[in-house]
Symmetry: C2
Subunit: 427 residues, 2 copies
């Protein structure tokens, strides 16, 4: 009998009525003859509340009035001053509640069901509290219950560390729980229920003619996820790819097929370009007139690496006089202030003339496994943007993706033009 894993996110379980709807959806899968395991997130909003409480409880002073700026920043980031082990105890409770409630709602529909907490499975992780990685999921117990016709309801996002303490997998970790469980159970499919009904050629809020994709490869999904599409967490896609778990992204609310994320050889007719992604989460930083000498890049990016700031795109231009260089790169918008601070602290050492941060940029990416065997994809992107008089600030490419950074005001114009240019418009 086929095993299916279904995962429902926070908005799908935000309240008892929605949990009842989820139970109905699970029942349909059970009635169709599958063995079903369900993975649930915390009710929407609950995790944020628990994170806030943890930060407040671990702040030494009620208002942190005299805390050092660095402390405040860390506390604001959610995981900072506090003990990650206790943070995990608090935060994991959200998924525990949903798992119990869904088990009750399933029983009310006449199904057999039981909840499984991370430590009960056990879903074994490393000891990196707050963003633990899954090491092993011994599924004998859970599989035995499923074989007896019981729906297994797993609390997502949580596991147990080597020291017997509760761990959590980081934001969006329930997707990872679901894919990992599907891999361990050798499930036929892992259905991720969200508030969209699949993966689109681009954001339908921008392009009305965006089409839902029936299938997409792991590699493309990975690029979509890391280039701004919020449908699936990057880590869960990597895990699915590594274990060849067939993932379906579909709607919690409508009972229609979604998008299947599969191996490349399961897709017969490959598109050259599958879709257009965009991300407003990046910011651009330009260092003007940096003395052009060996090791200058290392001396710039060293301090950023030390501050745990990830740098994405990088362009270096030699200036006309050949003695200085302009260096442009992107960081996450949320890291921009810290980036500027770190570079200003090194101004004398680096010797640059000016530091120009710019948060008003967007990264637009054209994605498709077909471009491996097709030339001219990047050229079409550049000419399309040129026709619309959109200036490209930075370019970066990979085997199945071309990304450009442009001024944020062109987001909609650029995405629509590219969607048409690559023949993705519906109808």
């Amino acid at each position: 009998m086929a095993r299916i894993v279904q995962k429902f996110g926070g908005t799908s379980v935000a309240g008892i009525d929605r949990i009842r709807n989820v139970a109905q959806r699970v029942k349909r899968e059970v009635d169709s003859g599958s063995q079903v395991a369900v993975v649930v997130s915390a009710m929407a909003g609950v995790t944020n509340q628990l994170v806030a409480w943890s930060s407040e409880a671990s702040a030494a002073k009620p208002r942190a009035a005299n805390a050092a700026p660095g402390q405040a920043a860390l506390a604001g980031a959610g995981i900072g001053l506090e003990d990650g082990r206790e943070y995990d105890v608090v935060v994991a409770s959200g998924e525990q509640v949903t798992a119990g409630l869904l088990a009750l709602a399933l029983q009310a529909l006449g199904l057999k069901a039981r909840s499984w907490l991370g430590w009960q499975v056990p879903l074994k992780t490393d000891a990196v509290h707050g963003k633990a990685r899954i090491l092993d999921i011994p599924v004998d117990a859970i599989a035995a219950c499923m074989a007896r016709g019981e729906v297994a309801v797993l609390a997502g996002f949580q596991g147990i560390g080597p020291d017997g303490r509760i761990t959590t997998l980081g934001r969006g970790g329930s997707d990872t729980s679901a894919v990992a469980l599907a891999a361990a159970l050798h499930a036929e499919r892992c259905d991720i229920f969200t508030d969209v009904d699949g993966v689109y050629t681009t954001d339908p809020r921008i392009v009305a003619k965006a089409k839902k994709l029936d299938r997409i490869t792991y590699e493309e999904m990975l690029e979509f996820a890391s280039q701004g599409a919020k449908v699936l967490q990057t880590r869960s896609v990597e895990l699915a790819m590594n274990h060849r778990v067939r993932v379906q992204v579909l709607s919690s609310y409508e009972d229609v097929p979604g998008t299947l994320v599969v191996d490349e050889d399961e897709i017969v007719e490959k598109q050259v370009v599958s879709g257009i992604a965009y991300s407003r989460d990046d910011a651009k930083v330009t260092l003007q007139a940096v003395p052009d000498r060996p090791g200058v890049a290392a001396s710039i990016f060293g301090p950023l690496a030390e501050a745990a700031i990830n740098v994405d795109m990088i362009v270096q231009n030699i200036s006309e006089d050949g003695k200085t260089t302009d260096l442009t790169f992107t960081v996450a918008k949320s890291d921009l202030a810290r980036t500027v601070k770190a570079l200003e602290a090194q101004r004398k050492t680096l010797g640059y003339a000016a530091l120009k941060p710019d948060p008003n940029v967007v990264k637009i990416s054209v994605i498709g496994v077909g471009m491996r065997s097709h030339a001219g994809v990047a050229q079409k992107m550049f000419s399309t943007l040129a026709e619309k008089n959109i200036n490209i600030l930075v370019i970066s490419t990979s085997e199945i993706k071309v990304s450009v950074l442009v001024s944020e005001e062109y987001t909609e114009l650029a995405v629509r033009a590219l969607h048409t240019a690559y023949g993705l418009d519906a109808g």
Copy 2:
């Protein structure tokens, strides 16, 4: 080094600021040189919310419009239709959150601290979900951590059953967790922090001259708890008495000594009467003109026992003609409607003339271990009430207690008169 267990209830941890106050209180105990274990309840209000969600999730229909009355009553009682194992998963999360937050707040004060969930200790219980009994608390691990200077923060109210599932101990179970942990740790004292600063000779809201008792015996405390004083849960007092755990009831807000609940031989100067308790939780039922034949009491109380209705005080009067009898008894006010229903269903069999329920009664109890060796305690109660023209409806006595049922309107008058009569007024 002395081990101390401290227990903080729901109102003491209702919010981050209060949790910080609790952390300060714990720190003072640590600074005084004790090894400290803390037991916490869920934040006030949280458990009620979780119970309500469980009931709603397990109701088959959104509004339960077509549910049988019995079902609705059960669901309303909190533990009913639902699977007790899943109910426990949901409800136990409340204490988990508080334990983690308090550990964080203690760390913010520079203390070493860690949370312990029921399954981590493990606090082993039987399998009666929703009101499990504690079987064993192996304290090696927790004691080792305490010996290293770490404050152990135990999530109250929860344990782990023989099947590895989470159990809960029933309402007020955190008191029981605390006393059981104190017994297992051979703690010098178990401090129960509440919103009152100790046990009083009677309710200070009624008698301004009520005095705080420095010491009280287990037996008296048990009577106080079961006769209406809400300071400690009856079960936790029984446990303390059985294991000779010295319990102190004291205020979460003020740093003053509370009332010590101890063995009788720790109290040098025993009072004849320690205090006056009252309970408005009872209701009176009178069956008039029941045919007086052998077995009539059994035929009346049998159906009530079957309906799990506890009967407390019972009086039977032979009528003047000798052929019928009037029977009066008390039940919990919350059981009154079900009691009437059960007896009306048996009306033909029982053959009584009239059934008179009366919820407007109060049970007033005079309590004191000293009355074992002093005559006249009951007589003084009766004469005091007679002087105030208060009619006694039912009387019951035990070795250390005399209880009377009177009309509810006399509550304050009776309690004040008795408090004065037994010489309990302060100053």
